[in-house]
């Protein structure tokens, strides 16, 4: 996980130079929230006041909104990856329970998670563990997953709906699966129309799973503004299912699909607002750059190369953005059919100016996105860590730390990420890149330092309530893993 990197500092530096003085209060507030890395707060502020923005500041507003969505798409993707890891471990613990009091919903939650990860074999195995006496909502959903897994990508939408019409959740799940298979969108749209599914109805009758599916459906249908408006109305910390046994035990289940849906929506919203930039305006080159970066992040390397080729090194971008663009371009080309060895490319990029710490951090980031091993580069960059100035080196510590975390070298990752952390404000996102913090949290979780992990997410949840899914799962794991004598002392 931890493949992504926020562009906050870079974009903010850029915005500082280009946001017109005529910016409205809303622009100022949104930019401030963005600066504090509160992207949810930032986009909600600007989005709800976009109509009031002066025409002269329109492009600036659209670009700002696009930038916020770009960052939020990255962040939610990171949350999603963390949630999948934590949920997998937590559900495995629940599934280990063979007692008569074993969890009723855990098999479905595990199946949904496996399906989300593209692992139908595990999904079907989990579904086979479901006991009888399940509610209709549960059997309908499991029916949809079961049918989708058994039939593969050629499944017909109507077959899915046949399983799923029983409940709103199942209908939405069937629609989402059909859409993601890229098939029979008309059938899906017609079915959804017949079912008269509206935001109000979803809010009233769907669970968090249905809500996640609805968000992605709206995004897929290009109803971006409707989807964003819908998101402002939902409680992102709400559990998907609540299980209560006769002896009073309560287990809450959350679905990572909420996070992936939001990431996809924010990505679509980014594209939506970039497209609204007026042609030839001063934000266009930056908008194009971000589009290139987005394509790169989404694995469309050919698309990224095509976009970046047109703007990088042409004097159209601020120097720092241009430099980073060059790194992306190099990696994008590598991943095209004419590509080559990632590590060699990284070394080649670094050798041009190995003392530029920012450049090294960009390369580390690029390596992590394309999934390259970059071992030689990591050695080279690590040699710069010891001598790097603690302030100037933060980006490098952070990116290198994330790269180590990706390669499961948790100890090294922790050491580097701690170097990147603001000690006086160790969990605060205002002082720390949230992606760095979530990477660090992940490294701590991997080394069973659960309380460090939970503290990071506790602070994060104040601005991103959707991370409750991660918190709840890790609390569950920690409660099993904790080994102590039950001691408490006064201080």
């Amino acid at each position: 996980m931890n493949k992504y990197r926020l562009l906050t500092a870079l974009v903010l530096t850029t915005l500082t130079g280009v946001v017109p003085a005529a910016g409205t209060d809303s622009m100022t507030k949104a930019t401030k929230s963005m600066e504090l890395r509160r992207y949810d707060e930032a986009w909600r502020e600007l989005y709800s006041n976009i109509g009031t923005i002066d025409a002269s500041a329109r492009d600036a507003a659209m670009f700002t909104l696009a930038s916020i969505f770009h960052n939020n798409a990255i962040l939610y993707k990171q949350f999603y990856l963390g949630a999948v890891e934590a949920q997998t471990d937590y559900l495995n613990l629940l599934l280990k329970d063979k007692s008569k009091n074993k969890s009723k919903y855990a098999p479905l939650a595990a199946a949904m998670l496996a399906y989300e990860k593209g692992d139908c074999k595990s999904a079907l195995a989990a579904l086979s563990k479901m006991g009888g006496n399940q509610e209709k909502s549960i059997t309908s959903l499991s029916g949809v997953i079961d049918t989708a897994c058994r039939s593969g990508r050629l499944i017909k939408a109507n077959d899915l709906f046949a399983k799923g019409t029983a409940t709103l959740d199942a209908t939405l799940a069937a629609a989402r699966i059909s859409y993601s298979n890229g098939r029979q969108k008309q059938v899906v749209d017609a079915t959804l129309n017949r079912a008269a599914i509206t935001p109000d109805k979803v809010l009233k009758d769907a669970s968090a799973s249905g809500v996640a599916d609805y968000i992605i459906l709206l995004a897929e249908q290009g109803k971006i503004e409707e989807a964003l408006k819908f998101v402002t109305r939902i409680d992102l910390s709400k559990p998907w299912l609540k299980e209560e046994s006769k002896d009073g035990r309560k287990i809450y289940f959350y679905t990572p699909a909420s996070l992936s849906s939001l990431s996809s929506l924010y990505s679509a919203a980014f594209k939506f607002y970039v497209a609204k930039l007026s042609g030839g305006g001063k934000y266009n080159a930056l908008g194009s750059y971000l589009s290139g970066e987005r394509s790169f992040l989404e694995g469309d390397y050919a698309g990224a190369a095509k976009i970046l080729d047109g703007i990088v090194g042409k004097g159209k971008l601020p120097p720092r953005v241009d430099e980073r663009g060059a790194v992306l371009l190099k990696f994008s080309r590598l991943k095209t059919p004419t590509g080559g060895d990632v590590d060699s490319a990284a070394i080649e990029l670094a050798s041009a100016s190995a003392d530029k710490l920012e450049l090294l951090s960009d390369i580390a980031w690029g390596c992590s996105i394309v999934g390259g091993k970059c071992e030689k580069f990591m050695q080279l960059a690590s040699s710069k860590v010891d001598v790097a100035d603690s302030k100037r080196g933060k980006a490098l510590f952070s990116e290198l730390g994330k790269l180590f975390e990706l390669t499961n070298k948790h100890g090294k990752a922790i050491a580097l990420l701690e170097m990147a952390r603001d000690k006086a404000n160790k969990n605060k996102i205002e002082y720390n890149d949230p992606l760095m913090l979530t990477s660090l949290a992940e490294a701590y979780r991997s080394t069973k330092s659960f309380s460090e992990h939970l503290e990071i997410y506790f602070e994060m949840s104040k601005y991103y309530p959707a991370v409750r899914i991660v918190q709840d799962a890790v609390q569950g794991i920690y409660s099993v893993e904790q080994k102590s004598a039950g001691d408490v002392k006064i201080f």
């Binding site: 659960f450 506790f458 602070e459 609390q475 920690y478 408490v488």
Partner: protein, 532 residues
């Protein structure tokens, strides 16, 4: 030189280098700063963190927990648990010896010591916070000199981890029936651990030296010295002027300065701790939950944290730290609401007197707040004065009294002579709050110092101990959090950022978030700072 000779030469050279490297690591003194000194240094009667850290160096448990959070052998080499989870048989190591008592030869550690430790801990006259924690043990029996069997009253969750409690020698205390704070052993303990007590100096510095007979890997650092400080600023100066090498907990205000100083390492360790104002419900005015809740509402915790600790922490809503698995994420901290506080006080029957102080039944709402003097640093002073002012604004008169640490503990835990205290609890990762809020824990030197009783809380605590279902226990703890947040036996304040700071010459440092020193044997002091 033929190949064989060359290989032999390389092997010998490598071996000599390795031995030299090992020898390079041995020696030196590590001085570390603590806020105050411990009342006792034994693992049975002590109840503060300073003593806990020392006992970690001096004593061993039957089992330990390694850096990967796995349960590992310590004084027990191996163990067996029966299917039912009620019988635990420990096979003890035969090479462990007690530190010498006076001029005597070191005595061997045996099963007698294990049985003795449990019996003295469980004796009604022994004043210890451990009793409630080990009530689940029914009997302990010596099978032979190096085998001991514990029978539990019932199977419990994570039982093996409970056997980390420290073993003391049968020939240690003067009174072999029960242990009191008057027994010389609690001031001059002997253990089996990697360090042994050398002396407590006239300046109250606790000096420990490496145990040459330690059964495990010998400690690298020759001497540990715990130095007490009453003032955080002076302790910080001592570190920056190299008078000490380590601070266990850095004042959050000093973090930016240390972060910029390349001589030091800042190491996070997430002790599950929080600060609170605790109420003595023996005072009838404080026995009314509405009054305690009003006090919580009357103070602006966010503002206090921001102003006095640079915001370097998190406001909490209940009896667990946010890094704990037990924290109920649905219970949000009460917002600052003076009007609601006033309303609650009125509802509780208070009316303003002629001097503006609230009264009920002719008695003024006048209370004493006791704070240990070791906590008398600038930030703490501001917190308690702000608390006084906030409460004054709703009509309560609070007199703040700073007391010497031992006198404070005596006053709070033994005499219960206070209305409100300001203190912090530090937990290991069990989040076990039973000793804090269960009614059976009211009494001299017990942790429920405020005398809080609630049948509901008692019931939940007992239920949590009886269950073998992790999720059920989580549910109970969430409920406990909710109930205690509402009942407000404390005003739960915040958890602060925890960092230890140490000089870079101290190497291979690994810190346990709660016990701090269990891995200190492998720390060493490098003479070569250039390689840092």
């Amino acid at each position: 030189m033929n190949r064989l000779k060359l290989a032999t030469f390389i092997f010998i050279a490598a071996t000599v280098n390795a031995v030299n490297a090992e020898q390079d690591r041995v020696g030196g003194t590590l001085g570390y700063g603590e806020y105050g000194r411990p009342a006792t240094i034994d693992p049975i009667t002590s109840n503060d963190m300073i003593a806990l850290r020392l006992t970690e160096l001096i004593f061993n448990g039957l089992v330990g927990i390694n850096e990967k959070q796995e349960i590992v052998p310590d004084l027990a080499e191996k163990w067996e648990v029966d299917k039912e989870g009620k019988n635990y048989t420990f096979y003890l190591r035969k090479n462990a010896k007690w530190h010498p008592k006076g001029a005597d030869e070191p005595q061997p550690f045996t099963a007698e010591d294990v049985v003795f430790t449990f019996k003295i801990m469980a004796h009604p006259k022994t004043i210890t916070p451990l009793k409630v924690r080990y009530e689940f043990i029914d009997t302990v029996e010596k099978i032979d000199n190096y085998t001991v069997k514990f029978v539990l009253k019932r199977p419990i969750l994570n039982a093996l981890a409970k056997f980390t409690f420290k073993i003391i020698p049968k020939h240690g205390p003067n009174n072999t029936n029960y242990l009191t704070r008057e027994d010389p052993f609690v001031q001059r303990p002997i253990g089996t651990g990697p360090y042994m007590l050398k002396e407590v100096t006239a300046n109250q510095e606790v000096v420990l030296i490496a145990n040459p007979n330690y059964f495990g890997a010998k400690a690298n650092i020759a001497q540990f010295v715990a130095k007490p400080f009453a003032d955080q600023n002076i302790m910080m100066q001592a570190l920056t002027f190299n008078a000490i090498d380590m601070i266990v907990t850095v004042n959050p205000r000093n973090l930016p300065e240390l972060q910029g100083d390349k001589r030091f390492v800042l190491q996070p360790y997430n002790a599950l701790s929080y600060a609170f104002f605790g109420y003595n419900v023996r005072n009838p005015m404080l026995n009314d939950a509405r009054v305690r809740k009003a006090f919580t509402l009357a103070i602006n915790r966010d503002e206090m944290l921001k102003s006095f600790f640079n915001g370097q922490g998190t406001v909490i809503s209940g009896p667990f730290a946010p890094g704990s698995w037990a924290y109920n994420l649905d219970v949000k901290p009460q917002p600052f609401d003076k009007a609601k506080a006033a309303e609650l006080l009125k509802e509780a029957g208070f009316q303003a007197g002629s001097d503006g102080i609230l009264e009920k039944g002719g008695k003024k709402l006048a209370l004493t707040l006791k704070v240990p003097i070791e906590k008398e640093n600038e930030a703490v002073k501001r917190v308690v004065l702000a608390f006084k002012n906030y409460l004054k604004s709703v009509g309560a008169d609070v007199q703040v009294s700073f007391m010497e640490w031992q006198a404070w503990k005596e006053s709070i835990f033994a005499q219960h002579d206070f209305d409100i205290i300001f203190a912090s609890w530090v937990f290991d990762d069990s989040a076990d709050i039973s000793s804090l809020f269960h009614s059976a824990e009211i009494g001299a030197w017990k942790n429920n110092f405020g005398g809080y009783t609630s049948p509901e809380v008692d019931g939940l605590i007992v239920e949590s101990k009886l269950t073998l279902d992790h999720e059920k226990r989580r549910t109970i703890y969430r409920k406990l959090h909710e109930v205690l947040a509402d009942e407000a036996p404390y005003t739960f304040l915040w958890t602060l950022t925890n960092y230890s700071a140490y000089h870079k010459k101290v190497r291979h440092v690994s810190i346990h978030p709660y016990k701090f020193f269990p891995y200190a044997s492998s720390w060493f002091i490098s003479g070569d700072e250039s390689k840092i």
